[in-house]
Amino acid sequence: MQSDARWMVSMHDMVSITPGKTPAAEVHPPAAATLASPATPHRETGTQRENPVPDTPLARQTALRVQGLGKTFRSGFLRRRDGGVQDVSFTVPEGSVFALLGHNGAGKTTTINSILDLIHPDSGTVEIFGVNHRRQEARRQVGYLPERPYFFEHLTGRELLGLYADLLEIPAVEKNECIDQVLERTRMAEAAGRRLRKYSKGMLQRIGLAQALLGDPRLLILDEPMSGLDPLGRREVRHLLQELKAQGKTIILSSHIVPDVEMLADTVGILRQGRMVHVGTLAEATGGGTYQVRIAGGTDQSGYQVLTAHGVDALREVLDRCGAEGLPVLGVEAGSGILEDLFVKAHESQEAR
């Protein structure tokens, strides 16, 4: 896979890439997540919370480890089961982008809230950079954006970020600089002096992203980061996330908008009815992806023909043949809808059981 990635980079010189579409092999680094074996469920205990922070190389490399996570919600007089997650396990190495996919109510937010200790899981273990998630310091490395961010509406954007900077114990001398940086990054500098009650939904999303980026966290957990944004805003956030990824940040994002995930994620976890039905890299899941190669000439009026290659090996073969036969390659596009197919398949196979 690594050699494929290098090969695709060199292809930039040979073929044009359609703007906005990046070849899958370039986007996705090698195997980023593994489906962890389900752990024996057990409750968190006070003793566990006091465990010393592991300092092994493995602990440093793994940003997040979720094992056998279970949470059941009950409601009504008869305490009937009302959603939750069961036996969710996955591992996210540092520097990768992991996407939690699933329909509304599939358990994405429950999983995220359990990771952040906002809700207490019934079973399973969660470690953030090797530290049990129930320990306060585990959250020092985490930036979190909830699904529908809502903040103190009478504070200004800058005051709000000041509060979060203090919660992160950012020294007073660095505080203003840190706030300015995240405001610039999220393009909220101009609106920073206005009270949050006057912010639009998109602006709340941006200031939410700004607070998540404060303190330069190593792990970003973003619950539906694109929701509430217009197409331009979505593109900007996507670019910001790509930038953060390039900086080596670990990103966990949940979404039910497949194309967004497809452009960002190295690894996907598909949740259905509270169960993880698929965890794997996009390349593993899709056999390297689908590519469309446009070649000059052809029989119709468009003046070009399109060849479809399934996987990187097939793409290489097509391009080799074009080169050998002297056919000018006009462009290569990463096929869209790869993940969508996988998403649908995972849901269908689960339904069939």
Binding site: D117, L118, I119, F151, D166, L168, R195, Q211
Partner: protein
Amino acid sequence: MAQRILALTVSTFRETVRDRIFYLVGVFGFVMLLSTAVLSPLTVGAQGKIMTDVGLAAMSIFGLLVVVFVGSSMVRKEVEKGTILTIMSKPVGRREYLVGKYLGLNLTLLCMLVVMGLMFLLMTFLAPGTFSLRFVPVIYLTLLELMLVNAVAVFFSTCVSPILAAVFTLGAFVVGHLSQSIKDFGTLQGSVFQQRVSETVYYLMPNLEVFNVRGDVVHGMTVDAGHVGLATLYSLGWVGLLLIFAGAIFARKELR
């Protein structure tokens, strides 16, 4: 830890103050003027007493309104709106959060009482023969009482809905002022059961009459410094106890 609690205190203070809480201070001023202009002339020879009595009672009632309407819904509202999610995703302990919110509202109450107290003293200064520094300990004891009731409100806001929390807080305020009477009533009834019930209520509920010295001061008596000291300890003891219980409940709470 101190930086985090201070940050939460300041943001809570800003949020409550900007949420038009201080309009109540304006209403207080209006009540003071009304008591001076309308009620005082109706009483012969006790104009000053009416004004001071109404003024001191109004301070307590307006403070109570803030505690009941803001304190009772403070934690629950943040959970329901989701403002708490980003706060608790930072390295903040649940108890730190609760203490920060509690202190933030206390700061608002302190500012309100300072402004209302100054307005009150100014009014007494303008009425001949009414001004006295004896009123300062009364205002201080009102603050201690409101701090305690605020802790009751925060305790209830961690475990029941905002409406129930407001009702329970108001109930605790009323029972707290009647607890001595309830105990005496039980003793007078003669039945052992009634005696036990009234004693249980008396010991389970804070006795808010400890902080009520308004009647004595209005009638010219001074507040003993020892009483003020003991009342301070009594208030702080109850606040500590209530926040410990509230923290234990809140630590187990699901934030969703």
